[in-house]
Symmetry: C2
Subunit: 354 residues, 2 copies
């Protein structure tokens, strides 16, 4: 825990001076004040996180973490568990949605095995950090031990720290794990205090009957484990996932090193609930890329106090939404950095009298 | 008019076969069906417009048209008219918002003088197509003659046709013109049939008093000119603008050549109202990039039957929103083209029984 405690301590308030300077510069650029809307706010947030009056978004990465879930034994979804491992292979070959969008955005994709059930083929591009070969069935007992939960978070911190060493101006979070909307909904129910039925959605597209069963399984997991909302590690261990813990670690590690974090959809959101429960100041370092089609995501974002940039009805995960959010963050930073000022462009300013 | 009539005739229905093939391919890609949400719909629309089962977005341009407005004599805004010409110079030097975002997106910016009041300094990058040195004051009589309105539209068609010859897979529309939310609101009121007060907004940021005055001026222009909603050329001539006519031409010319058009904010929307009134089929070729902070824009988009991709509270014009819409269109096309299929990636599909 010592590493984790230290990291949390390092997450301080945003740099107000850089934010003030960024805001002042926005108002000198050749446009009506505020005309770039949320991109202006975003540029100021980025300035505060990076501690630079003109933030820079050049080195970009999406960290996509994979894990399996014992709760699939309860038949909560409609895809076979082997798909987690197969999709990891797809990521490594560059054929998944996240690969395509990350290429367009100019972000590298860091693929991590946090806890895939089977043995994955060795691949130099794969970070093998398996904490366990999947979680246990949370409907029958805790998904993992407290030690595994800590290990998952610390692994996320280590991985993002390695990426910072390579150069990292912004990081997006992504996930892959058959069944992982189930633990995410459980985490969301515990931490937001809302009923399971409200925060549980159709994941990859289940029907009404299966949705009712999924809600029942989550209720059972909460009854069996009684996770303590005041103790995020307890929640993660009892009803979480290894990739969810890893992503919480990525968020904490990035923020502690002044790197903005673009969070993806519902699973990344669940990780953010865990991470911000540990370090409330982290919230200021998070950028919500989009609101996903998963029904609990709106509730989750509201609880985090985050307003999504996009609403494209996406529900793919992998970091696909986060990659688009990274693009918009770059737009925000580049307009602040590269637009001419009124003085530079010799453009007249607004009339004083109006 | 012969050229214009022919162009309108060429805008046919989208290519259903390509759309069916695109839709079928989407469902073979390694993701749950529909998981890319609106990006999937967009990819299918692009397929139908381009007439290709796998649409391609490589050659991208934003056409930014500038014009001045005689109605500024009524003091409807708070920026001096000289800013139109100064901003054109800023576009040519690469310092404006549209330059920065277009660079990021990989789109060229085509800057056109459709009707700037003053004489612009010659610049090899500027397309000088001045139909008139600004419109006349529409509160006192027609903004332009019928011949000028036709000339503006035909100029837009010619310009986009030249761009198609250079290679153009998608085009965005952009505008610059001090005072141009005033004619845009007038067009919007006439064509949607809504009261001026509902469709008139704060433009570059005017206060309540100036807003009330602006609405009064538009009402006066409508009373003086009595534009006929059933005749879009009459509306454009009486209460329109030269850049608005030019952009309507860009839309018609692009669609007639199977090039998708990403429309920007309120001014591009007013141009779309004119153009779709001439060619209702054009609607299918339009992609609404965003809903701007300008209050009438929502009403306008609803009338067009278009759903914006983004809501970032932007209100800069220039094509800045359109450039972001071009980026998302490219994402839609690239995911369709580049993602692996289940068969290619050897990923198992969804269980049959669920």
């Amino acid at each position: 825990m010592s590493n984790l405690t230290e990291i949390i301590k390092k997450i301080g308030p945003l740099d107000k001076k850089s934010m003030d300077e960024a805001r002042a510069r926005q108002d000198t650029l050749t446009k009506p004040q505020g005309a770039l809307g949320r991109l202006e706010e975003l540029s100021i947030q980025l300035a505060g996180i990076q501690g630079k009056p003109i933030p820079q978004i050049t080195n970009k990465a999406v960290i996509t973490m994979a894990g399996d879930h014992g709760v699939v034994a309860e038949k909560v979804g409609n895809w076979p568990q082997e798909v987690t491992a197969q999709m990891v292979a797809n990521f490594l070959h560059g054929g998944a949605g996240i690969n395509v969008i990350a290429r367009q955005v100019g972000a590298r994709v860091v693929v991590v095995d946090m806890g895939v059930a089977g043995q994955l083929k060795a691949n130099p591009k794969l970070l093998s950090r398996k904490v366990a070969p999947g979680t246990k069935n949370m409907a029958a007992g805790p998904a993992m031990t407290r030690e595994q939960a800590i290990k998952a978070i610390e692994t996320g911190i280590e991985i993002v720290t390695d990426e910072v060493k390579k150069g990292l101006d912004i990081v997006g979070t992504g996930d892959m794990g058959i069944g992982n909307t189930t633990p995410s909904a459980a985490i969301c129910a515990v931490i937001t205090g809302r009923p399971c039925a409200e925060v549980t959605g159709r994941g990859t597209g289940i029907d009404d009957q299966l949705l009712a069963h999924k809600i029942e399984v989550i209720n059972k997991a909460l009854a069996v484990n009684r996770p303590d909302a005041a103790h995020p590690l307890d929640v993660l261990a009892k009803v979480g996932g290894l990739e969810i813990g890893g992503l919480a670690g990525v968020m904490l590690g990035a923020a502690s090193q002044h790197v903005p974090v673009v969070i993806d959809g519902f699973i990344s959101g669940a990780a953010a609930l865990i991470a911000t429960s540990m370090a409330p100041q982290l919230k200021d370092y998070l950028i919500a890329a989009h609101v996903s089609a998963e029904s609990g995501h709106k509730i989750l974002l509201k609880h985090l106090g985050l307003r999504p940039l996009l609403d494209l009805e996406m529900r793919l995960g992998e970091g696909t939404g986060a990659a688009l959010g990274i693009f918009l963050s770059e737009t925000a930073a580049r307009t602040l950095a590269e637009m001419a000022t009124f003085a530079e462009a010799e453009v007249s300013e607004k009339n004083e009298e109006s």
